[in-house]
Symmetry: C2
Subunit: 216 residues, 2 copies
DNA sequence: CGATTGTTTGAGGCCAGTCAAAGTTAGTGG
DNA sequence: CCACTAACTTTGACTGGCCTCAAACAATCG
C-alpha cells in the first residue's frame, strides 16, 4: 500500500475511549457502523442463543480486528465485551467501503480478513466436533501463545485474559473440566499454572496433545 | 442493481460442466480463482485435519455460493465434493473483484455473502458446543427444510442428499448416533424416515427440539 | 472485612462413543 | 438381468469421558 493510501486510511480511524472490564463495545442488534481493531487488552465476542444462553465465539487480542459479523444485514449479531481494561480503534465502515473503491488493495485486504475469519471459525468447528477436552485446552493455550509471540511477547509465559468460564464456554466444556485439565497438565509437567498465569514447560508435548492443528 | 450491471455480471459467469457424484469441484491447496454457485445438486465442503481425518464444514444446495475460503491467501483451504450429480456456475474472482470496483453494490453484496458465512459458521459452532444429539439432528433437518422451501420445494418432504456418515461428521456425531436419533424421531411420530427420504410429520415438535435456533 | 464471584476437587450418573454383527443398498461385470 | 461385492445403515450391548451436583477454598471488590 502506498504512503498516501495509508494516510487516507489513518484519516478515518478514530481512537476510541478505553473500555473497562465488562463494558460492551457493541451489542447484538446494534446498527453496524464500524469494525474495530484492538489496540490493547482483550475483547470477547458472544452470541446469545434463543434460550438465553451465552456462547463465546472468539477472543480478540491486541492487533486483531473484530466486528465483521455486522456486514451481512447492517446489524451486529454478536456482542463484544472487554475482558480487561482495553483500548480499541474504531474504523467506520461506510468510509472504508467508499475508500476501498479507490484503493483496490484495500478491498482485497478486507476480503482477506473476512476469509481468515471464516477459516478460523471452521478450524474451531472441527475442534469442537472431533477433539477431546485435553486437545481443546491444549490448542487454545497454543493459540494464545502463538498470538502473543506475534506481538513480540513471551510465547512461554503469559496471563490468560479470560476466566475459566469463558474458556469452557468457548471450547464447549464445563468450567470443572477446564479446571481439571489444567490441573492434570500441571501435574504431568506440561504447564505451570498459577491462577491465570501460565508457563508452558513442555511445549513439544503440548503441541503433541493439541495434534499440532494450530489455529489462530 | 441495474439491468446493465446484471448483464456485466452475467458476462463473466461460466456455466461449468456437470459434476458426477464424488467428483471434486476444487481441492484443498488449489490456487483460488473462482467462487461457485450451485445450479443443481448438492456440494459438501471438507477440511482435512493434520492427522488425515475429514471434517465436513458445509453443505451447499442449489442457489448457494461456495468457495469463499480461498480469498485469504489465494489458496483453497477446503475441498469441495459433489454429493450427487450436480451443476455449478463458476464466477472468476479476479474479474469479479475488478467489476466490484465499478459497481459499489456488488462489492457490498460480496461483503454480505462472506459475513453470512461467518454468522452461519458461528451458529454451527454454538450448536456443536452446546446441543445434544437430538437437537443437532433436528436443527439440520429444519435447515434443509427451510432451504428447500426457499427454492419452492416441499418443506415437509425431501430427500437427504448426504449420507449418514456425512451428517454425523458435520454434526460431530457418529453414524450410529445419527441413525439412532432418526429411528427414535420416527418412533415418536416426528418424522417418517425411509432411507434418505424424510417426511416431517410433527413440525412444531421438531422445532421445539431444535430449540428454534434456526440456522441456514 | 463481609459478600460475591470465581476456582478447585471429589463422587456419581448419563449421553454418546466403541465394538460387533446382521441387514440393506448400490454398483459392477458376467 | 442377475449374481456378487463393497459400501452403507441399523440395532444391540457395553464402556468411558465429560457433565452434574456438591462442598470447600481463593480472590476480588465495595
Amino acid at each position: 500500500m502506498h504512503a498516501e493510501d495509508i494516510d487516507r486510511v489513518n484519516d478515518i480511524i478514530q481512537r476510541g475511549r478505553p473500555l473497562q472490564k465488562g463494558e460492551y463495545l457493541y451489542r447484538s442488534g446494534d446498527v453496524f457502523q464500524s469494525v474495530f481493531k484492538v489496540h490493547s487488552g482483550t475483547i470477547k465476542t458472544i452470541n446469545i442463543t434463543s434460550d438465553g444462553q451465552e456462547q463465546v465465539t472468539g477472543f480478540y487480542l491486541a492487533g486483531e480486528i473484530l466486528g465483521l459479523d455486522g456486514l451481512a444485514d447492517n446489524v451486529h449479531t454478536n456482542s463484544a465485551i472487554a475482558l480487561e481494561t482495553s483500548a480499541v480503534c474504531e474504523i467506520p465502515f461506510s468510509s472504508l467501503e467508499e475508500l476501498s473503491l479507490k484503493i483496490p488493495t484495500l478491498q482485497h485486504h478486507f476480503f482477506q480478513l473476512m476469509s481468515r475469519e471464516i477459516i478460523g471459525d471452521q478450524k474451531l468447528m472441527t475442534m469442537l466436533s472431533k477433539n477431546s477436552a485435553d486437545e481443546r485446552v491444549a490448542t487454545l493455550l497454543l493459540s494464545i501463545s502463538t498470538r502473543n509471540h506475534r506481538r513480540h511477547l513471551s510465547a512461554l509465559d503469559f496471563r490468560l485474559p479470560m476466566s475459566r468460564s469463558d474458556i469452557g464456554n468457548y471450547l464447549g466444556l464445563t468450567i470443572e473440566t477446564v479446571s481439571r485439565v489444567l490441573s492434570r497438565f500441571q501435574k504431568n509437567g506440561l504447564l505451570s499454572v498459577d491462577k491465570k498465569d501460565i508457563t508452558i514447560v513442555d511445549m513439544d508435548e503440548l503441541k503433541n496433545i493439541a495434534n499440532a492443528d494450530t489455529y489462530e
